[in-house]
Protein backbone atom coordinates (compact mmCIF):
# COMPACT_ATOMS: atom_id res chain seq x y z
CA UNK A 1 0.00 0.00 0.00
CA UNK A 2 2.27 2.83 -1.20
CA UNK A 3 -0.28 5.63 -0.75
CA UNK A 4 -1.03 4.64 2.80
CA UNK A 5 1.59 6.74 4.54
CA UNK A 6 0.75 10.00 2.80
CA UNK A 7 -3.00 9.76 3.38
CA UNK A 8 -2.56 9.47 7.14
CA UNK A 9 -0.03 12.27 7.08
CA UNK A 10 -1.06 13.71 10.42
CA UNK A 11 0.03 10.52 12.21
CA UNK A 12 3.13 10.05 10.13
CA UNK A 13 5.52 10.62 13.05
CA UNK A 14 7.60 7.43 13.10
CA UNK A 15 6.83 5.20 16.07
CA UNK A 16 9.49 5.29 18.73
CA UNK A 17 11.98 2.49 19.12
CA UNK A 18 10.19 0.64 21.88
CA UNK A 19 7.00 0.42 19.85
CA UNK A 20 8.89 -0.72 16.78
CA UNK A 21 10.78 -3.36 18.77
CA UNK A 22 7.52 -4.58 20.28
CA UNK A 23 5.90 -4.74 16.88
CA UNK A 24 8.75 -6.73 15.43
CA UNK A 25 8.90 -9.19 18.30
CA UNK A 26 5.25 -9.53 19.21
CA UNK A 27 5.05 -13.13 17.97
CA UNK A 28 8.14 -14.14 19.92
CA UNK A 29 6.82 -12.52 23.08
CA UNK A 30 3.43 -14.21 22.71
CA UNK A 31 5.09 -17.55 22.00
CA UNK A 32 7.33 -17.28 25.02
CA UNK A 33 4.29 -16.33 27.09
CA UNK A 34 2.56 -19.53 26.02
CA UNK A 35 5.69 -21.48 26.80
CA UNK A 36 5.63 -19.95 30.27
CA UNK A 37 2.00 -21.00 30.66
CA UNK A 38 2.98 -24.56 29.72
CA UNK A 39 5.95 -24.70 32.08
CA UNK A 40 4.45 -22.84 35.05
CA UNK A 41 2.73 -25.87 36.67
CA UNK A 42 5.93 -27.89 36.37
CA UNK A 43 7.81 -25.14 38.20
CA UNK A 44 5.13 -25.02 40.88
CA UNK A 45 5.33 -28.79 41.31
CA UNK A 46 9.11 -28.47 41.60
CA UNK A 47 9.03 -25.66 44.15
CA UNK A 48 6.34 -27.32 46.26
CA UNK A 49 8.36 -30.53 46.42
CA UNK A 50 10.51 -28.58 48.90
CA UNK A 51 7.57 -27.49 51.01
CA UNK A 52 6.70 -28.57 54.52
CA UNK A 53 2.92 -28.22 54.64
CA UNK A 54 0.98 -27.81 57.86
CA UNK A 55 -2.11 -29.82 57.01
CA UNK A 56 -2.78 -32.78 54.76
CA UNK A 57 -2.82 -30.68 51.60
CA UNK A 58 0.28 -29.35 49.92
CA UNK A 59 -1.36 -26.34 48.25
CA UNK A 60 0.12 -23.53 50.34
CA UNK A 61 3.74 -22.64 50.87
CA UNK A 62 4.75 -22.99 54.51
CA UNK A 63 8.51 -23.45 54.78
CA UNK A 64 11.49 -24.98 53.01
CA UNK A 65 12.36 -28.60 53.68
CA UNK A 66 14.03 -31.47 51.85
CA UNK A 67 12.21 -34.15 53.86
CA UNK A 68 10.20 -35.43 50.93
CA UNK A 69 13.29 -35.75 48.75
CA UNK A 70 15.23 -37.75 51.34
CA UNK A 71 12.26 -40.05 51.95
CA UNK A 72 10.42 -40.31 48.62
CA UNK A 73 8.68 -43.58 49.50
CA UNK A 74 7.60 -42.43 52.94
CA UNK A 75 3.94 -42.44 51.99
CA UNK A 76 2.00 -45.66 52.32
CA UNK A 77 1.15 -47.33 48.99
CA UNK A 78 2.55 -44.58 46.80
CA UNK A 79 5.69 -46.29 45.56
CA UNK A 80 3.74 -49.52 45.17
CA UNK A 81 1.31 -47.79 42.83
CA UNK A 82 4.25 -46.22 41.00
CA UNK A 83 5.81 -49.64 40.48
CA UNK A 84 2.53 -51.04 39.23
CA UNK A 85 2.13 -48.16 36.77
CA UNK A 86 5.65 -48.73 35.47
CA UNK A 87 5.02 -52.44 35.08
CA UNK A 88 1.76 -51.90 33.22
CA UNK A 89 3.33 -49.22 31.02
CA UNK A 90 6.20 -51.52 30.05
CA UNK A 91 3.93 -54.42 29.09
CA UNK A 92 1.40 -52.18 27.37
CA UNK A 93 4.26 -50.64 25.38
CA UNK A 94 5.60 -54.05 24.36
CA UNK A 95 2.14 -55.29 23.36
CA UNK A 96 1.05 -52.17 21.52
CA UNK A 97 4.40 -51.76 19.75
CA UNK A 98 4.52 -55.33 18.46
CA UNK A 99 0.89 -55.43 17.33
CA UNK A 100 0.95 -51.86 16.03
CA UNK A 101 4.15 -52.31 14.03
CA UNK A 102 2.72 -55.39 12.34
CA UNK A 103 -0.43 -53.49 11.37
CA UNK A 104 1.62 -50.52 10.18
CA UNK A 105 3.71 -52.70 7.89
CA UNK A 106 0.62 -54.39 6.47
CA UNK A 107 -0.96 -50.99 5.77
CA UNK A 108 2.14 -49.35 4.35
CA UNK A 109 3.40 -52.26 2.25
CA UNK A 110 0.43 -54.18 0.96
CA UNK A 111 -2.76 -53.45 -0.87
CA UNK A 112 -5.63 -55.63 0.18
CA UNK A 113 -9.36 -55.45 0.21
CA UNK A 114 -10.15 -54.48 3.80
CA UNK A 115 -7.66 -51.61 3.78
CA UNK A 116 -9.99 -48.66 4.26
CA UNK A 117 -11.95 -50.55 6.89
CA UNK A 118 -8.76 -51.24 8.81
CA UNK A 119 -7.76 -47.58 8.51
CA UNK A 120 -11.09 -46.53 10.00
CA UNK A 121 -10.74 -49.02 12.83
CA UNK A 122 -7.28 -47.61 13.61
CA UNK A 123 -8.46 -44.02 13.47
CA UNK A 124 -11.60 -44.33 15.61
CA UNK A 125 -9.96 -44.95 19.01
CA UNK A 126 -8.01 -41.72 18.60
CA UNK A 127 -11.14 -39.77 17.69
CA UNK A 128 -13.26 -41.02 20.55
CA UNK A 129 -13.50 -39.37 23.95
CA UNK A 130 -11.69 -41.54 26.46
CA UNK A 131 -14.66 -41.73 28.77
CA UNK A 132 -16.75 -43.44 26.06
CA UNK A 133 -14.11 -46.12 25.44
CA UNK A 134 -13.58 -46.53 29.16
CA UNK A 135 -17.25 -47.04 29.96
CA UNK A 136 -17.92 -49.38 27.07
CA UNK A 137 -14.93 -51.62 27.79
CA UNK A 138 -15.91 -51.75 31.47
CA UNK A 139 -19.44 -52.70 30.45
CA UNK A 140 -18.05 -55.62 28.45
CA UNK A 141 -15.87 -56.83 31.32
CA UNK A 142 -18.78 -56.50 33.76
CA UNK A 143 -21.11 -58.52 31.57
CA UNK A 144 -18.51 -61.19 30.94
CA UNK A 145 -17.97 -61.45 34.66
CA UNK A 146 -14.24 -60.73 34.29
CA UNK A 147 -12.48 -59.67 37.47
CA UNK A 148 -11.13 -56.10 37.24
CA UNK A 149 -7.45 -55.67 37.99
CA UNK A 150 -4.00 -55.86 36.40
CA UNK A 151 -5.12 -57.75 33.30
CA UNK A 152 -8.12 -55.59 32.49
CA UNK A 153 -5.95 -52.47 32.83
CA UNK A 154 -3.30 -53.99 30.57
CA UNK A 155 -5.87 -55.01 27.93
CA UNK A 156 -7.34 -51.50 27.93
CA UNK A 157 -3.94 -49.83 27.68
CA UNK A 158 -2.78 -51.96 24.76
CA UNK A 159 -6.09 -51.15 23.07
CA UNK A 160 -5.78 -47.36 23.21
CA UNK A 161 -2.00 -47.23 22.60
CA UNK A 162 -2.23 -49.40 19.49
CA UNK A 163 -3.54 -46.69 17.14
CA UNK A 164 -0.80 -44.25 18.11
CA UNK A 165 1.91 -46.81 17.36
CA UNK A 166 0.34 -47.64 13.99
CA UNK A 167 0.22 -43.95 13.05
CA UNK A 168 3.82 -43.30 14.07
CA UNK A 169 5.29 -46.39 12.36
CA UNK A 170 3.14 -46.06 9.25
CA UNK A 171 4.31 -42.50 8.66
CA UNK A 172 7.93 -43.63 8.81
CA UNK A 173 7.52 -46.71 6.59
CA UNK A 174 5.49 -44.79 4.00
CA UNK A 175 8.23 -42.17 3.60
CA UNK A 176 10.88 -44.83 3.06
CA UNK A 177 12.35 -45.38 -0.40
CA UNK A 178 11.24 -48.83 -1.67
CA UNK A 179 14.29 -48.93 -3.94
CA UNK A 180 16.50 -49.55 -0.92
CA UNK A 181 14.85 -52.91 -0.42
CA UNK A 182 14.98 -53.70 -4.12
CA UNK A 183 18.69 -52.91 -4.05
CA UNK A 184 19.20 -55.32 -1.17
CA UNK A 185 17.36 -58.02 -3.08
CA UNK A 186 19.44 -57.35 -6.18
CA UNK A 187 22.49 -57.97 -4.01
CA UNK A 188 21.09 -61.40 -3.23
CA UNK A 189 19.86 -60.65 0.29
CA UNK A 190 17.20 -63.10 1.39
CA UNK A 191 13.84 -61.57 2.40
CA UNK A 192 14.71 -62.13 6.06
CA UNK A 193 18.09 -60.45 5.65
CA UNK A 194 16.50 -57.56 3.79
CA UNK A 195 13.99 -57.07 6.56
CA UNK A 196 16.48 -57.28 9.42
CA UNK A 197 19.33 -55.26 7.85
CA UNK A 198 17.48 -52.71 5.72
CA UNK A 199 13.79 -52.37 6.53
CA UNK A 200 13.87 -52.61 10.31
CA UNK A 201 16.75 -50.14 10.87
CA UNK A 202 14.99 -47.57 8.69
CA UNK A 203 11.66 -48.06 10.46
CA UNK A 204 13.31 -48.01 13.90
CA UNK A 205 12.84 -44.28 14.68
CA UNK A 206 9.12 -44.59 13.96
CA UNK A 207 8.87 -47.68 16.14
CA UNK A 208 10.79 -45.93 18.91
CA UNK A 209 8.53 -42.88 18.71
CA UNK A 210 5.45 -45.11 18.88
CA UNK A 211 6.84 -47.02 21.84
CA UNK A 212 7.78 -43.86 23.70
CA UNK A 213 4.32 -42.41 23.12
CA UNK A 214 2.66 -45.64 24.30
CA UNK A 215 4.73 -45.64 27.44
CA UNK A 216 3.83 -42.04 28.24
CA UNK A 217 0.14 -42.53 27.44
CA UNK A 218 -0.14 -45.73 29.45
CA UNK A 219 1.84 -44.47 32.41
CA UNK A 220 -0.22 -41.30 32.65
CA UNK A 221 -3.66 -42.62 31.80
CA UNK A 222 -6.33 -41.96 34.36
CA UNK A 223 -9.76 -42.02 32.73
CA UNK A 224 -9.65 -45.48 31.13
CA UNK A 225 -7.83 -46.95 34.11
CA UNK A 226 -10.36 -45.48 36.52
CA UNK A 227 -13.15 -47.45 34.85
CA UNK A 228 -11.26 -50.70 34.38
CA UNK A 229 -9.07 -51.06 37.46
CA UNK A 230 -11.50 -52.25 40.11
CA UNK A 231 -9.67 -51.86 43.41
CA UNK A 232 -6.20 -51.88 41.81
CA UNK A 233 -4.42 -48.55 42.30
CA UNK A 234 -2.04 -47.20 39.67
CA UNK A 235 -0.03 -44.04 40.24
CA UNK A 236 -2.49 -41.64 38.55
CA UNK A 237 -5.27 -43.23 40.59
CA UNK A 238 -3.23 -42.72 43.74
CA UNK A 239 -2.83 -39.04 42.86
CA UNK A 240 -6.57 -38.78 42.16
CA UNK A 241 -7.40 -40.32 45.53
CA UNK A 242 -4.94 -38.05 47.28
CA UNK A 243 -6.65 -35.00 45.79
CA UNK A 244 -9.57 -35.92 48.02
CA UNK A 245 -7.78 -37.32 51.09
CA UNK A 246 -4.71 -35.08 51.23
CA UNK A 247 -1.74 -34.68 48.93
CA UNK A 248 1.63 -35.79 50.34
CA UNK A 249 4.67 -33.74 49.28
CA UNK A 250 6.21 -36.91 47.86
CA UNK A 251 3.80 -36.66 44.92
CA UNK A 252 5.57 -33.47 43.92
CA UNK A 253 8.93 -35.19 44.28
CA UNK A 254 7.81 -37.94 41.87
CA UNK A 255 6.34 -35.32 39.51
CA UNK A 256 9.58 -33.34 39.49
CA UNK A 257 11.70 -36.46 39.00
CA UNK A 258 9.49 -37.52 36.08
CA UNK A 259 9.84 -34.11 34.47
CA UNK A 260 13.62 -34.12 34.79
CA UNK A 261 13.95 -37.68 33.49
CA UNK A 262 11.65 -36.85 30.56
CA UNK A 263 13.62 -33.72 29.65
CA UNK A 264 16.85 -35.69 29.85
CA UNK A 265 15.50 -38.56 27.72
CA UNK A 266 14.07 -36.31 25.03
CA UNK A 267 17.23 -34.20 25.00
CA UNK A 268 19.54 -37.21 24.68
CA UNK A 269 17.27 -38.73 22.03
CA UNK A 270 17.20 -35.57 19.92
CA UNK A 271 20.92 -34.90 20.15
CA UNK A 272 21.70 -38.52 19.30
CA UNK A 273 19.35 -38.33 16.33
CA UNK A 274 20.99 -35.12 15.12
CA UNK A 275 24.49 -36.56 15.47
CA UNK A 276 23.52 -39.60 13.44
CA UNK A 277 22.00 -37.43 10.74
CA UNK A 278 25.15 -35.33 10.53
CA UNK A 279 27.34 -38.40 10.22
CA UNK A 280 25.38 -39.93 7.37
Amino acid sequence: MPGHETTSATAVRPPNRAVRWLRRNIVTIAGLGTLGYLILPNLVVMVFSFNKPNGRFNYQWTRFSTDAWTDPCGVADMCGSLGLSLEIAVWATVGATVLGTMIAFALARYRFRARSGVNTLIFLPMAMPEVVMAASLATLFLNMGIQFGFWTILIAHVMFCLSFVVTAVKARVMSMDPRLEQAAQDLYATPVQTFLRVTLPIAAPGIAAGALLSFALSFDDFIITNFNAGSTVTFPMFVWGSAQRGTPVQINVIGTAMFLVAVLCVFVGRTAGKKRRQRS
Binding site: L99, I103, V118, A127, P129, V131, S136, T139, M159, N226
Partner: protein
Protein backbone atom coordinates in the same frame (compact mmCIF):
# COMPACT_ATOMS: atom_id res chain seq x y z
CA UNK B 1 -10.98 -39.02 7.25
CA UNK B 2 -10.32 -42.37 5.72
CA UNK B 3 -10.50 -40.81 2.31
CA UNK B 4 -6.73 -40.36 2.22
CA UNK B 5 -5.98 -43.61 0.43
CA UNK B 6 -6.43 -43.64 -3.27
CA UNK B 7 -9.02 -46.37 -3.75
CA UNK B 8 -7.09 -49.11 -5.50
CA UNK B 9 -9.00 -51.32 -7.90
CA UNK B 10 -9.96 -54.20 -5.67
CA UNK B 11 -9.03 -57.24 -7.74
CA UNK B 12 -5.90 -56.13 -9.58
CA UNK B 13 -2.75 -55.43 -7.56
CA UNK B 14 -1.87 -51.76 -8.02
CA UNK B 15 1.05 -51.03 -10.30
CA UNK B 16 3.15 -49.26 -7.68
CA UNK B 17 2.67 -51.90 -5.01
CA UNK B 18 5.94 -53.50 -3.96
CA UNK B 19 4.88 -56.99 -5.00
CA UNK B 20 4.38 -56.53 -8.72
CA UNK B 21 4.97 -60.14 -9.67
CA UNK B 22 2.12 -62.57 -9.27
CA UNK B 23 2.65 -63.99 -5.86
CA UNK B 24 1.64 -67.40 -4.58
CA UNK B 25 -1.43 -67.57 -2.37
CA UNK B 26 0.71 -68.15 0.70
CA UNK B 27 2.45 -64.82 0.16
CA UNK B 28 -0.73 -62.97 -0.63
CA UNK B 29 -1.97 -63.85 2.81
CA UNK B 30 0.98 -62.09 4.49
CA UNK B 31 -0.80 -58.76 5.12
CA UNK B 32 -3.71 -60.58 6.70
CA UNK B 33 -1.44 -62.49 9.06
CA UNK B 34 0.27 -59.20 9.98
CA UNK B 35 -3.05 -57.56 10.69
CA UNK B 36 -4.73 -60.43 12.48
CA UNK B 37 -3.59 -60.09 16.11
CA UNK B 38 -3.82 -56.30 16.34
CA UNK B 39 -7.09 -56.00 14.51
CA UNK B 40 -8.55 -58.83 16.57
CA UNK B 41 -7.52 -56.92 19.69
CA UNK B 42 -9.28 -53.78 18.47
CA UNK B 43 -12.38 -55.69 17.40
CA UNK B 44 -12.70 -57.50 20.72
CA UNK B 45 -11.70 -54.72 23.09
CA UNK B 46 -12.76 -51.60 21.18
CA UNK B 47 -15.50 -52.34 18.63
CA UNK B 48 -17.34 -55.12 20.47
CA UNK B 49 -17.60 -53.08 23.69
CA UNK B 50 -19.24 -50.26 21.74
CA UNK B 51 -21.84 -52.70 20.39
CA UNK B 52 -22.24 -54.11 23.86
CA UNK B 53 -22.75 -50.66 25.23
CA UNK B 54 -25.43 -49.97 22.66
CA UNK B 55 -27.35 -52.97 23.96
CA UNK B 56 -26.72 -51.90 27.55
CA UNK B 57 -28.27 -48.52 26.85
CA UNK B 58 -31.49 -50.32 25.88
CA UNK B 59 -31.65 -52.35 29.07
CA UNK B 60 -33.68 -51.79 32.17
CA UNK B 61 -33.31 -53.28 35.61
CA UNK B 62 -31.13 -52.85 38.63
CA UNK B 63 -27.95 -54.32 40.01
CA UNK B 64 -29.88 -56.67 42.33
CA UNK B 65 -32.35 -58.17 39.88
CA UNK B 66 -30.09 -57.96 36.85
CA UNK B 67 -30.36 -56.01 33.59
CA UNK B 68 -32.44 -57.10 30.60
CA UNK B 69 -32.71 -55.68 27.10
CA UNK B 70 -36.23 -54.25 26.91
CA UNK B 71 -35.65 -51.77 24.06
CA UNK B 72 -36.29 -49.05 26.57
CA UNK B 73 -35.46 -46.10 24.34
CA UNK B 74 -36.81 -43.72 26.96
CA UNK B 75 -33.45 -43.97 28.74
CA UNK B 76 -32.01 -41.76 26.01
CA UNK B 77 -34.80 -39.24 26.33
CA UNK B 78 -34.62 -39.18 30.13
CA UNK B 79 -30.85 -38.85 30.09
CA UNK B 80 -31.03 -35.93 27.67
CA UNK B 81 -33.82 -34.25 29.59
CA UNK B 82 -31.94 -34.50 32.85
CA UNK B 83 -28.39 -33.84 31.75
CA UNK B 84 -28.66 -31.45 28.79
CA UNK B 85 -27.07 -28.61 30.81
CA UNK B 86 -23.94 -30.75 31.29
CA UNK B 87 -23.90 -31.55 27.57
CA UNK B 88 -24.18 -27.90 26.62
CA UNK B 89 -21.55 -26.99 29.19
CA UNK B 90 -19.12 -29.64 27.90
CA UNK B 91 -19.42 -28.42 24.33
CA UNK B 92 -19.12 -24.77 25.41
CA UNK B 93 -16.08 -25.31 27.66
CA UNK B 94 -14.38 -27.50 25.08
CA UNK B 95 -15.06 -24.95 22.32
CA UNK B 96 -13.72 -22.04 24.36
CA UNK B 97 -10.67 -24.07 25.42
CA UNK B 98 -10.04 -25.00 21.77
CA UNK B 99 -10.19 -21.38 20.63
CA UNK B 100 -7.86 -20.35 23.46
CA UNK B 101 -5.48 -23.18 22.58
CA UNK B 102 -5.40 -21.94 19.00
CA UNK B 103 -4.80 -18.34 20.07
CA UNK B 104 -2.05 -19.32 22.52
CA UNK B 105 -0.60 -22.19 20.55
CA UNK B 106 -0.20 -20.46 17.20
CA UNK B 107 2.48 -17.97 18.28
CA UNK B 108 4.37 -20.72 20.05
CA UNK B 109 4.26 -23.03 17.03
CA UNK B 110 5.30 -20.11 14.82
CA UNK B 111 8.15 -19.29 17.17
CA UNK B 112 9.46 -22.86 17.05
CA UNK B 113 9.06 -23.16 13.29
CA UNK B 114 10.56 -19.85 12.16
CA UNK B 115 12.25 -17.94 14.97
CA UNK B 116 13.73 -20.28 17.54
CA UNK B 117 16.90 -20.97 15.52
CA UNK B 118 19.37 -22.85 17.66
CA UNK B 119 16.94 -22.82 20.60
CA UNK B 120 14.44 -24.88 18.64
CA UNK B 121 15.41 -28.18 20.28
CA UNK B 122 15.12 -26.78 23.78
CA UNK B 123 11.72 -25.17 23.16
CA UNK B 124 10.49 -28.38 21.54
CA UNK B 125 11.57 -30.38 24.59
CA UNK B 126 9.79 -27.95 26.90
CA UNK B 127 6.60 -28.45 24.89
CA UNK B 128 6.85 -32.25 24.81
CA UNK B 129 8.20 -32.91 28.30
CA UNK B 130 4.92 -32.13 30.12
CA UNK B 131 3.46 -35.10 28.19
CA UNK B 132 5.73 -37.34 30.21
CA UNK B 133 4.99 -35.81 33.60
CA UNK B 134 1.81 -36.72 35.34
CA UNK B 135 -1.27 -35.04 33.92
CA UNK B 136 -2.99 -35.16 37.32
CA UNK B 137 -0.08 -33.70 39.28
CA UNK B 138 0.14 -30.78 36.88
CA UNK B 139 -3.60 -30.19 37.08
CA UNK B 140 -3.39 -30.18 40.87
CA UNK B 141 -0.64 -27.57 40.58
CA UNK B 142 -3.26 -25.22 39.12
CA UNK B 143 -5.02 -25.42 42.47
CA UNK B 144 -1.94 -23.83 43.99
CA UNK B 145 -1.53 -21.28 41.21
CA UNK B 146 -5.18 -20.16 41.30
CA UNK B 147 -5.54 -20.40 45.09
CA UNK B 148 -7.70 -17.72 46.72
CA UNK B 149 -4.84 -16.01 48.56
CA UNK B 150 -2.34 -16.57 45.76
CA UNK B 151 -0.55 -13.97 43.64
CA UNK B 152 -2.62 -14.60 40.50
CA UNK B 153 -5.97 -14.01 42.18
CA UNK B 154 -4.45 -11.12 44.14
CA UNK B 155 -3.28 -9.41 40.94
CA UNK B 156 -6.59 -10.01 39.16
CA UNK B 157 -8.43 -8.55 42.15
CA UNK B 158 -6.24 -5.48 42.44
CA UNK B 159 -6.87 -4.68 38.78
CA UNK B 160 -10.59 -5.38 39.33
CA UNK B 161 -10.51 -7.99 36.58
CA UNK B 162 -12.50 -10.43 38.68
CA UNK B 163 -15.28 -7.87 39.17
CA UNK B 164 -15.71 -7.74 35.40
CA UNK B 165 -15.48 -11.49 34.89
CA UNK B 166 -17.90 -12.11 37.75
CA UNK B 167 -20.36 -9.75 36.13
CA UNK B 168 -19.97 -11.79 32.95
CA UNK B 169 -20.59 -15.00 34.89
CA UNK B 170 -17.15 -16.50 34.23
CA UNK B 171 -16.07 -16.23 37.85
CA UNK B 172 -17.85 -15.88 41.17
CA UNK B 173 -17.00 -13.25 43.72
CA UNK B 174 -13.31 -12.65 44.24
CA UNK B 175 -12.07 -16.12 43.49
CA UNK B 176 -11.08 -18.18 40.46
CA UNK B 177 -11.07 -21.76 41.78
CA UNK B 178 -14.42 -23.56 41.51
CA UNK B 179 -15.54 -21.28 38.67
CA UNK B 180 -15.87 -21.83 34.90
CA UNK B 181 -12.69 -19.77 34.39
CA UNK B 182 -10.63 -22.27 36.39
CA UNK B 183 -12.01 -25.28 34.47
CA UNK B 184 -11.44 -23.66 31.07
CA UNK B 185 -7.96 -22.62 32.17
CA UNK B 186 -7.17 -26.22 33.13
CA UNK B 187 -8.62 -27.61 29.89
CA UNK B 188 -6.67 -25.09 27.81
CA UNK B 189 -3.47 -25.91 29.63
CA UNK B 190 -3.88 -29.68 29.44
CA UNK B 191 -4.64 -29.89 25.74
CA UNK B 192 -2.35 -27.11 24.50
CA UNK B 193 0.44 -29.47 23.37
CA UNK B 194 -2.10 -31.30 21.17
CA UNK B 195 -2.62 -27.99 19.37
CA UNK B 196 1.00 -26.86 19.21
CA UNK B 197 2.45 -30.04 17.70
CA UNK B 198 0.22 -30.34 14.60
CA UNK B 199 0.47 -26.57 14.06
CA UNK B 200 4.24 -26.79 14.22
CA UNK B 201 4.28 -29.73 11.80
CA UNK B 202 2.33 -27.85 9.16
CA UNK B 203 4.17 -24.54 9.70
CA UNK B 204 7.53 -26.25 9.40
CA UNK B 205 6.61 -27.52 5.93
CA UNK B 206 6.14 -23.98 4.62
CA UNK B 207 8.99 -22.90 2.38
CA UNK B 208 10.51 -19.72 3.91
CA UNK B 209 11.08 -18.43 0.37
CA UNK B 210 7.32 -17.93 0.15
CA UNK B 211 7.66 -15.33 2.89
CA UNK B 212 10.46 -13.62 1.01
CA UNK B 213 8.40 -13.67 -2.17
CA UNK B 214 5.46 -12.07 -0.37
CA UNK B 215 7.80 -9.42 1.01
CA UNK B 216 9.23 -8.78 -2.47
CA UNK B 217 5.67 -8.18 -3.65
CA UNK B 218 5.28 -5.47 -1.01
CA UNK B 219 3.09 -7.49 1.33
CA UNK B 220 3.32 -6.27 4.88
CA UNK B 221 4.00 -8.91 7.56
CA UNK B 222 0.34 -8.98 8.56
CA UNK B 223 -0.74 -9.46 4.95
CA UNK B 224 1.87 -12.17 4.43
CA UNK B 225 0.49 -13.97 7.43
CA UNK B 226 -3.13 -13.59 6.36
CA UNK B 227 -2.67 -14.51 2.71
CA UNK B 228 0.26 -16.96 2.79
CA UNK B 229 1.20 -18.44 6.15
CA UNK B 230 -2.21 -19.00 7.70
CA UNK B 231 -3.86 -20.65 4.67
CA UNK B 232 -0.89 -23.00 4.32
CA UNK B 233 -1.13 -23.96 7.98
CA UNK B 234 -4.82 -24.86 7.78
CA UNK B 235 -4.28 -28.64 7.90
CA UNK B 236 -2.49 -28.12 11.21
CA UNK B 237 -5.27 -25.86 12.47
CA UNK B 238 -7.92 -28.45 11.64
CA UNK B 239 -5.95 -31.35 13.13
CA UNK B 240 -5.11 -29.31 16.23
CA UNK B 241 -8.65 -28.16 16.88
CA UNK B 242 -9.92 -31.74 16.60
CA UNK B 243 -7.17 -33.08 18.85
CA UNK B 244 -8.06 -30.51 21.52
CA UNK B 245 -11.83 -30.38 21.19
CA UNK B 246 -12.57 -34.13 21.31
CA UNK B 247 -10.68 -35.03 24.48
CA UNK B 248 -11.68 -31.74 26.14
CA UNK B 249 -15.39 -32.43 25.59
CA UNK B 250 -15.13 -35.82 27.28
CA UNK B 251 -12.76 -34.81 30.06
CA UNK B 252 -13.87 -34.87 33.68
CA UNK B 253 -10.59 -34.39 35.49
CA UNK B 254 -10.40 -30.62 35.15
CA UNK B 255 -14.03 -30.10 36.10
CA UNK B 256 -13.57 -32.35 39.11
CA UNK B 257 -10.30 -30.91 40.40
CA UNK B 258 -10.69 -27.23 39.50
CA UNK B 259 -14.46 -26.76 39.38
CA UNK B 260 -17.37 -27.25 41.74
CA UNK B 261 -20.71 -29.01 41.32
CA UNK B 262 -21.83 -26.09 39.15
CA UNK B 263 -19.16 -26.86 36.56
CA UNK B 264 -19.84 -30.58 36.10
CA UNK B 265 -19.29 -31.70 32.53
CA UNK B 266 -20.79 -34.72 30.82
CA UNK B 267 -17.73 -36.83 31.62
CA UNK B 268 -18.36 -36.28 35.33
CA UNK B 269 -21.95 -37.46 34.92
CA UNK B 270 -20.95 -40.60 33.02
CA UNK B 271 -18.29 -41.36 35.58
CA UNK B 272 -20.60 -41.02 38.55
CA UNK B 273 -23.49 -42.89 36.88
CA UNK B 274 -21.15 -45.75 36.04
CA UNK B 275 -18.88 -45.96 39.07
CA UNK B 276 -21.03 -44.59 41.90
CA UNK B 277 -24.74 -44.83 41.06
CA UNK B 278 -24.14 -48.06 39.10
CA UNK B 279 -26.89 -47.09 36.65
CA UNK B 280 -25.25 -48.71 33.63
CA UNK B 281 -28.04 -48.08 31.09
CA UNK B 282 -28.00 -44.34 31.74
CA UNK B 283 -24.21 -44.23 31.65
CA UNK B 284 -24.24 -46.14 28.36
CA UNK B 285 -26.93 -43.90 26.85
CA UNK B 286 -25.01 -40.76 27.91
CA UNK B 287 -21.75 -41.95 26.39
CA UNK B 288 -23.57 -42.87 23.20
CA UNK B 289 -25.10 -39.43 22.94
CA UNK B 290 -21.68 -37.87 23.57
CA UNK B 291 -20.05 -40.06 20.93
CA UNK B 292 -22.76 -39.36 18.36
CA UNK B 293 -22.67 -35.62 19.02
CA UNK B 294 -18.90 -35.49 18.66
CA UNK B 295 -18.85 -37.63 15.51
CA UNK B 296 -21.53 -35.41 13.98
CA UNK B 297 -19.70 -32.20 14.85
CA UNK B 298 -16.36 -33.55 13.64
CA UNK B 299 -17.83 -34.72 10.33
CA UNK B 300 -19.51 -31.38 9.78
CA UNK B 301 -16.36 -29.50 10.69
CA UNK B 302 -14.17 -31.52 8.37
CA UNK B 303 -16.66 -31.12 5.54
CA UNK B 304 -16.78 -27.35 6.14
CA UNK B 305 -13.05 -26.85 6.49
CA UNK B 306 -12.50 -28.81 3.30
CA UNK B 307 -9.23 -30.40 4.33
CA UNK B 308 -10.09 -34.00 3.70
CA UNK B 309 -6.54 -35.30 3.48
CA UNK B 310 -5.97 -34.92 7.15
CA UNK B 311 -4.87 -38.05 8.87
Amino acid sequence: MTTTQAPAPPERPAADAPEVRRTPARKRLVPYWLLLPGILWLLVFFAAPLVYQASTSLQTGSLEEGFKVTWHLATYWDALAEYWPQFVRSVAYAAVATVLCLALGYPLAYLIAFKAGRWRNLVMILVIAPFFTSFLIRTLAWKTILADGGPVVGALNSFHVLDVTSALGITEGHRVLATPLAVVCGLTYNFLPFMVLPLYTSLERIDPRLHEAAGDLYARPATTFRRVTFPLSLPGVVAGTLLTFIPAAGDYINAELLGSTDQKMIGNVIQSQFLRVLDYPTAAALSFILMAAILAMVTLYIRKSGTEDLV
